[in-house]
Amino acid sequence: MIEIEGISKRYGETTVVRDVSLTIAPRTVTVIVGTSGSGKTTLLRIINRLVEPTSGTIKLDGEDNRSLPDYELRRRIGYAIQGHGLFPHRTVAQNIATVPTLLGWDRARIEAKVNELLTLFQLDPVAFGPRYPHELSGGQQQRVGVARALAAEPKVLLMDEPFGALDPIIRAKAQDDLLAIQKHFETTIVLVTHDMEEAFHLADRIAVMDKGEVVQYATPAEMLVKPATVFVESLIGAGERPFRLLAIDTVADAVEPGVAEGEAIASSASQREALSMLLWSGRKALPVVGPDGAVIGKVSLDGLAQRAAGPT
């Protein structure tokens, strides 16, 4: 649980973050979006005290984040940034071991953790552990950056545009991996991005920032249905709204009784994927198969159309 209460940050005359209050539930993904310069990074850095706020408090599990020295706080909070910030003079294994080493873990435990994380991120520990960062591809560097942030098993992980430097295909994969790992470690993630697609894909809740203020803090569905301001609406993109709405829920939620012809779709796919398949194959309905491969019903064009419709 992260409680952000009345946080403001001023640099001289300009207010960069203005009276922000948010409560972030444990084990969720919260995404902060907004245009460039709206104060997202600053707000994120206030959480692990890389920036000291002008006013306001932040509590982590009920404890003020100023109750211990800043460096000790940061060892408990994972932090991953765009361009990964890997230490070029240390091997991949040493990079990942940074915080455990600072915390004084014993060697065997560190090694086990490094191996676990590398395996989890689909990097062979024997092949990649001893390499230097410049010997990795961009996507691999980024994964090592996230692995380093997770090494000391932090309950909270802060990420500042972590996928900003990746190409679209690798980015999509990295996002899926992140969600899987979040489930695995039950980490609370606060992620900054300016990419709305990414926000809707990852977020349990989205906070939209504009000129230093949080103008809306809501679930993706609420935000689509009821954007708080014109700014939020334009950020979402009016033309994208029905598709974003469908992208949030899975086919399982839209299953109707009945049968349909042709190729089936998995119940775990998103409704947007179902719509896409319906339109492309020119059918009115698709059969839906459950996790065990058995047909559990159908999903129809009409049904999806109703779900994608905004409030009237």
Binding site: N48, L50, Y71, E72, L73, R74, R75, R76, Y79, I81, Q82, G83, H84, G85, L86, F87, P88, H89, T98, V99, L102, Y132, P133, H134, E135, G145, R148
Partner: protein
């Protein structure tokens, strides 16, 4: 695998050692440079001993300069010393316009003759390139790496020891290399104030009009300088390539 340039250097090193230990072997080579009865090999002391003294003087001065320059550079790149950063840059620029000879000559009336003024002059002059490079190295670290270091929860001292100094090391080494090469040459001038360096050989040659002395003194210093320069450069390269520079 041994590449040709490396082979040349090893050869030069071997010849240098041979010359220092058994200079008579090279007598026929130097003989044409002198008049009839004049000695072709320096005969007023041991070349080996002078070389070692020369190297010792340079080593002491450079070691002192490295410690002080590095400490100063660290000081002015911390937040508490930031006020001094612009001034220290200016002072380095000003300092480097001072001719080394002037520094040496001015040290004599203060510190007397011999080793001392030479050491002081080499130390003072050697400070500048090391300090300048250490400043460059410590102030041009990639911001994303410094950010990550803070983000992982390193203390100021840990960041300095584990991130900043290792990353700046190739640039700092380049400064030390520059300083050593300047000092090797400047130390010879120390012999005009009675410091025991290879300059003795050269000055003896100038005084007795013995070209062979001048050549052997000069060449020993030049070969030392080239070998030390290249060795340090190789060290920088291997450090740098590991970091993917």
């Amino acid at each position: 695998m041994l590449r040709l340039p490396t082979l040349f250097r090893l050869l030069a090193f071997a010849v240098l050692i041979a010359f220092l230990v058994q200079p008579q072997w090279f007598e026929p080579l130097l003989r044409p440079l002198v008049q009839e009865n004049a000695p072709a090999i320096y005969n007023q002391g041991s070349l080996l001993q002078l070389t070692l003294l020369h190297l010792r003087t340079v080593a002491i001065a450079t070691a002192g300069a490295t410690v002080v320059a590095l400490a100063l550079a660290i000081l002015v790149t911390r937040r508490s010393g930031a006020e001094f950063l612009p001034l220290s840059r200016s002072l380095v620029n000003i300092g480097q316009t001072f001719p080394p000879v002037a520094v040496l000559a001015l040290a004599v009336p203060i510190f007397g003759f011999g080793e001392k003024p030479t050491l002081i002059a080499l130390f003072l002059y050697g400070l500048l390139p090391i300090f300048e490079n250490a400043l460059t190295g410590l102030t041009t670290l990639p911001p994303s790496i410094m950010e990550a270091a803070r983000g992982t929860g390193m203390t100021g001292r840990q960041r300095l020891m584990k991130i900043e100094l290792p990353l700046a090391m190739p640039v700092i080494l380049a400064g030390i290399r520059l300083s050593v090469v300047i000092s090797l040459a400047t130390a010879t001038i120390g012999s005009t104030v009675a410091a025991r360096t290879l300059g003795e050989v050269i000055i003896a040659g100038l005084q007795s009009n013995n070209l062979a002395f001048v050549v052997q003194g000069g060449l020993i210093v030049a070969v030392l300088a080239v070998l030390i320069h290249d060795a340090l450069q190789a060290a920088e390269r291997s450090l740098g390539s590991r970091m993917g520079r």
